[in-house]
């Protein structure tokens, strides 16, 4: 752990969360992107309701344009990447310049996608850059705890989305397993009651599974102060 402050823990965690929000946001809304390509209307309102963002969009085309590319929309993918960058830029000496560059490249690819007639191709680069960032973290971040804090942030975001979107139980269990596995390799201090609720919900097959909304609430409050 060495020379990482608590402030940096917070940034590493949110860097992981925001990058995953961008990654999962692109992949989860792909059907809506496809619908727009076909000139069909998709159920973007359902997506907004499930993930808890205000539905301010006029139609599917407007959703695709603004949810992906509008950095003035705080819920957009572009904004998530911007927030990830805000956290990453103050972690250069922890991440390394080479690793940090992948966040910058994802933002640049997003900007190219916004101006492109075929944004799907550029969006693929956004996903590639996020994946490359993760690989680079493995190679360049010396402290295991720091690496695992980024992964914990990403895992928590993924589980959160799985629960909200009603992913199959097996998928949720797999993602919870990853989250717990990573969490114990960090110096993060989770709220014990909330953690127990989540662990019981996943591992205790004899007890009734809590409602997804209860689990989302427990997840969001898992790390007080973050």
């Amino acid at each position: 752990m060495g020379t990482v402050t608590l402030t940096k823990h917070n940034r590493l965690f949110w860097l992981g969360r925001y990058l995953e929000r961008a990654y999962a946001g692109i992949t989860a809304t792909r059907p809506l992107f496809e619908a727009d390509t076909d000139g069909r209307e998709g159920d973007y309102a359902d997506y907004c309701r499930k993930v808890g963002i205000p539905d301010t969009y006029e139609n599917t085309a407007d959703f695709v344009r603004r949810f992906y590319f509008d950095d003035n929309d705080p819920n957009s993918i572009a904004s998530a990447l911007g927030y990830a960058y805000d956290n990453a830029i103050v972690l250069r000496e922890t991440l390394s310049t080479d690793t940090l560059a992948y966040v910058q490249m994802a933002i640049s690819a997003m900007e190219l996608a916004a101006a492109s007639a075929a944004p799907g191709v550029e969006l693929q680069w956004v996903l590639d850059d996020i994946m490359a960032f993760r690989g680079s973290c493995e190679e360049t971040i010396e402290e295991e705890s720091s690496r695992n804090i980024i992964k914990t942030g990403a895992s928590l975001e993924r589980v959160d989305l799985c629960l909200r979107l009603g992913a199959p139980e097996s998928t949720c269990e797999k993602e919870f397993g990853r989250l717990f596995n990573r969490l114990y390799k960090t110096a993060l201090q989770p709220d014990r009651d909330r953690l127990n609720l989540l662990v019981d919900a996943v591992l205790d097959k004899t007890a009734p599974t809590p409602d997804a909304a209860v689990m989302v609430q427990a997840l969001e409050g898992l790390f007080p102060g973050m």
């Binding site: 020379t3 402050t5 250069r92 000496e93 490249m105």
Partner: protein
């Protein structure tokens, strides 16, 4: 060189990839901009660098001796070489530092000396920056990227490697360290030079700390690490004196380290550069630097100042008032290209108004002859154009005093403009020192 120009697009794409930016406040908004880079380097021959090297080491050695004297015995004042009015009247002089000798007696660890080359090839010093000179990181990263983009260029030219800046800086930090970790202390992401702070932390292996990460206890500075407090032995602070310690300077500063000046005065932490260095890089004190070289070292200055006049002296004031239209006047309290007035650009009325101002506040200004300095080729829209450029050379004082064999060449992006500062829209080049 043509190869480098041909790769300019790739090099700039690499600079964008690595986020080589600087911050700027415009209309109250903070924005980050890519620092425009021109692939054609400034080239300094080995013989030229030899002169520069000796001159810069001589100058910085004299400046360090001046600071030691100014905050110590004040012999140069007593001997009348530097007038008391100039030595103590500027805002850079800090009475709290009087009698304090920093670790290893070094005041200016990293000096940024701004030079221009006249059309006859001679170099003139324009300014000494002894507080927190920035800019080394830009040619440092640019060189690595240029080498990657055009390896043939570097196979065919014997360029002295400049990628050791991080090691040199680390050496300086280690040399003055009083026991503990090395830290680079940044005022944060919204600082214009944040890229540099974070990049140099990575290059030196120092910890990048910001407000709240450092605290003072038992006359010791600690870093608040997640695994417990760690003692700090050297702080390369990238924050101005006035914000450094709210208990000693501006009490409203929220970005400093409360109590750090007490630890520094006790010799228990090194501050890089030392507080109070502004007393020696005041634009008014600049006039006296050649005299310092003679006074402290008994040598003739190798590098010349640009011809400078101090309106403080009656004779100089008369000259300035009689010749204002052909001089450049600088407000000694300003930096970053601000407070610079070219007499030739003023209307008749404004010229008269400015003369009145100089008469009213003679200590506030210096005046210099406008040096018609050498233009350098710059690529603009695929064409070579000539632009004014200066050079910021970096001199590092640790166990020895040495000049980094490179530097930040800044150029004006406007034809006929002499203003090269990044905050005013200027760009930068790499600076090559040839090994032969």
């Amino acid at each position: 060189m043509d190869q480098l120009a041909a790769h300019a697009g790739t090099i700039n794409a690499q600079l964008a990839r690595y986020g080589v930016k600087f911050g700027i406040y415009k209309n109250g908004q903070f924005k980050e901009r890519l620092f425009p880079f021109d692939a054609l380097p400034r080239v300094i021959t080995a013989a030229e660098f030899d002169t520069l090297n000796r001159g810069l080491v001589q100058r910085v050695t004299a400046l360090n001796l001046f600071l030691k004297d100014l905050y110590g015995d004040k012999k140069i004042i007593k001997d009348g070489v530097v007038p008391q009015d100039f030595a103590f009247a500027g805002t850079g002089y800090l009475p709290i530092c009087d009698g304090v000798v920093p670790p290893k007696g070094i005041y200016s660890h990293i000096s940024g000396i701004d030079l221009v080359q006249g059309k006859d090839g001679g170099w003139f010093v324009l300014e000494d920056n002894l507080r927190i000179p920035s800019g080394a990181s830009y040619p440092l990263i640019a060189r690595s990227l240029c080498r990657r983009c055009s390896p043939d260029t570097f196979r065919q030219n014997d360029v002295v490697d400049n990628r050791n800046y991080g090691a040199l800086l680390r050496g300086v930090m280690d040399h003055v360290n009083t026991g503990g970790i090395n830290v680079i202390f940044t005022p944060g992401r919204r600082n214009a030079a944040y890229f540099e702070h974070s990049y140099l932390a990575e290059q030196t292996g120092a910890v990048l700390a910001e407000t709240g990460d450092l605290y003072v206890e038992d006359n010791t500075v600690f870093y608040r690490s997640a695994s417990g407090p760690q003692r700090v032995g050297a702080i390369y602070r990238r924050i101005s004196d006035e914000y450094l310690d709210p208990t000693a300077f501006l009490p409203e500063s929220l970005i400093g380290i409360p109590g750090v000046m007490g630890v520094y005065r006790a010799g228990r932490v090194a501050l890089i550069n030392a507080p109070g260095n502004g007393a020696a890089d005041d634009k008014g004190i600049y006039y006296f630097v050649p005299k310092m070289v003679e006074y402290y070292l008994g040598e003739q200055p190798i590098l010349q100042n640009a011809p400078t006049y101090l309106p403080f002296y009656e004779k100089d004031r008369k000259y300035v008032l009689d010749n204002l239209e052909k001089l450049v006047v600088k407000d000694v309290a300003e930096a970053g290209g601000y407070g610079v007035v070219f007499g030739r650009d003023l209307s008749k009325q404004k010229l008269e108004d400015f003369k009145e101002l100089v008469k009213r506040e003679p200590r506030r200004f210096i005046a210099q002859e406008v040096i018609d300095f050498l233009d350098l080729p710059v690529m603009e829209n695929g064409q070579q154009v000539m632009r004014k450029a200066d050079l910021r050379a970096f001199v590092l004082a640790g166990e020895t005093t040495q000049v980094w064999p490179s530097g930040l060449t800044r150029f004006s992006r406007e034809a006929d403009s002499f203003v090269v500062n990044s905050s005013q829209g200027g760009g930068f080049k790499d600076t090559w020192v040839l090994s032969h």
